[in-house]
């Protein structure tokens, strides 16, 4: 009895954690920005600062830009997602992170991870945002709004809209 009482909260936590299906999908977007990588990183390198430049984000809060750091992103559509950093590499202007629990209202996917990298490109910078996700319904007959295609559209849209917002924020000299 004592054992089962100890185990129960763990079991509940486990079912709330992400469960994803067997077939991943790619997402990849990039943009060039007329500013040095350092200048871009100053804005984009703050993991929890995404609310300052992403047009679809209402607000973001976080525990710091470091390995294991996390951010909770509230979308303008009302959904919210918590993401945690796997690797934060400021010297390489790059970080990798993954989603915690899914919120299909925010993005119609059951799981994702992504890498954000700023690199030199001529006099300016290139920003790459790429990742891997699983559709919202991982069963074999997903509804249209939770299919691979719906996930691709939403993820590519979120990344590309974000990069345009970042470009505007950096080149315009001010965050949104």
């Amino acid at each position: 009895m004592r054992l089962s009482l100890l185990v129960l909260p763990l079991a509940l936590a486990a079912t709330a954690a992400l469960a994803h299906g067997p077939t991943p999908q790619k997402v990849s977007q990039s943009i060039t920005i007329k500013a040095s990588p350092d200048a871009v990183w100053k804005v984009a390198g703050d993991f929890a600062g995404i609310g300052r430049w992403h047009p679809a984000v209402a607000k973001a809060e976080g525990s710091g830009s470091k390995d294991g750091g996390s951010r909770t992103v509230t979308f303008k559509n009302g959904g919210a997602l918590t993401e945690s950093l796997d690797e934060y590499k400021p010297e390489e202007h790059s970080y990798s992170y993954r989603m915690s629990d899914p919120d299909l209202k925010a993005l119609p996917v059951s799981s994702y991870s992504a890498t954000f990298t700023v690199s030199p490109d001529g006099d300016g910078s290139k920003v790459e945002w790429m990742g891997r996700f699983y559709r919202g319904d991982t069963g074999n007959e997903p509804p249209e709004n939770l299919s691979d295609e719906a996930g691709r559209e939403a993820m590519n849209g979120f990344f590309s809209e974000g990069l345009k917002g970042l470009k505007a924020a950096v080149e315009g000299g001010k965050a949104k």
Partner: protein
């Protein structure tokens, strides 16, 4: 997983006699590219078009098997030529595969069905089944016929008698176990835990966990060196392979590979790593622990398995 599969590959002598004398073949499945590629002596020597979105590849008994989670099917191909022989219908979401030494049956993990089935390799008839934990991922079979299952969302490994499909043990491991690999002497089972970023070491005698040690960001594939001294772990989120010393269970080296590495297999002093996002296979020299080549393959390589025409470990 690969090291155990290697030990079970016995290509019939008839086939052997008509083939050039290479040491073995690494089979690579590409998900989006829907291809089964063959890598021999460090280069891509062939590719076969297969049904869409293959996930896992396993080899045994002169055959190669590919699971299609979204396609209700398993592809059976000829290990000597790579040619597709037939399609086995499968009711569930086939993911992990394991092939017994006799090559007559095939174990399949049904990801969303929370079960493992043993199928006839002739026509896919389900011979026996057992209930697993939630989201069973990869499978491995030892020489005694015990089947180990990574129950990903139950955070444990289930152990079955593969002949009777009765449960022998349930072993708690790290968070979200996914990949499995036996040591060559089969005294240890290594388990990669994708969310706790570590590897659990299981004693296969007592069927208990000995230790859980850090590996890297999202361990997704495992292989053990032929002498059992080193464990190779692909880290999907870091784009690296970490090398663990089997005695101290500490990280000896980190080797950069492509993006989103998944499956890994060892053959003839090299490791082959499927880089899912980069559409390449990294070749790592096991003596220098350096990446020596990146072989382009069809889009989305996920899984690798070794088929040996010599019928022995590499």
């Amino acid at each position: 997983m690969s090291s155990t599969l290697v030990a079970r590959v016995l290509v019939p002598a008839l086939v052997l006699s008509s083939l050039p004398a290479w040491a073995g073949t690494v089979f690579v499945t590409s998900q989006q590219g829907a291809q089964l590629a063959r890598v021999e002596e460090g280069r891509v020597t062939g590719g076969t078009a297969v049904a869409s979105a293959p996930a896992t590849v396993a080899a045994g008994g002169g055959l190669v098997f590919l699971s299609h989670p979204d396609g209700h099917a398993i592809t059976v191909a000829d290990a000597a030529t790579g040619a597709v022989l037939r399609r086995l219908p499968y009711g569930g979401q086939a993911f992990g595969l394991a092939v017994p030494a006799d090559g007559r049956s095939l174990f399949v993990a049904d990801w969303s069905g929370n079960r493992v089935d043993r199928l006839s390799v002739e026509d896919g008839t389900v011979e026996a089944s057992a209930e697993t934990g939630r989201d069973p991922a990869h499978l491995v079979l030892d020489r005694a016929g015990r089947l180990f299952v990574a129950d990903r969302e139950s955070h444990r490994v289930s152990v079955f008698d593969g002949a009777r499909m009765t449960r022998l043990a349930t072993i708690p491991v790290g968070t979200a176990p996914f990949a499995l690999a036996l040591s060559p002497d089969e005294r240890r089972l290594y388990v990669g835990n994708v969310r706790s970023n570590d590897v659990t070491v299981i004693d296969t005698g007592s069927l208990t966990a000995l230790a859980t040690v850090p590996a890297g960001a999202m361990p997704y594939g495992l292989a053990v060196s032929p002498d059992g001294a080193r464990i190779f772990v692909t880290n999907q989120h870091a784009g690296t392979v970490t090398v663990l010393d089997a005695a101290s269970l500490t990280i000896q080296a980190r080797i950069g590979v492509g993006r989103y590495p998944e499956g890994i297999a060892l053959l003839d002093g090299k490791a082959y790593v499927a880089n899912w996002f980069s559409d390449t296979v990294s070749v790592i020299d096991l003596a220098t622990l350096k990446e020596v080549a990146r072989l382009p393959v069809a889009e989305g390589p996920r899984s690798v398995a070794v088929g040996s025409t010599q019928g022995g470990a590499p």
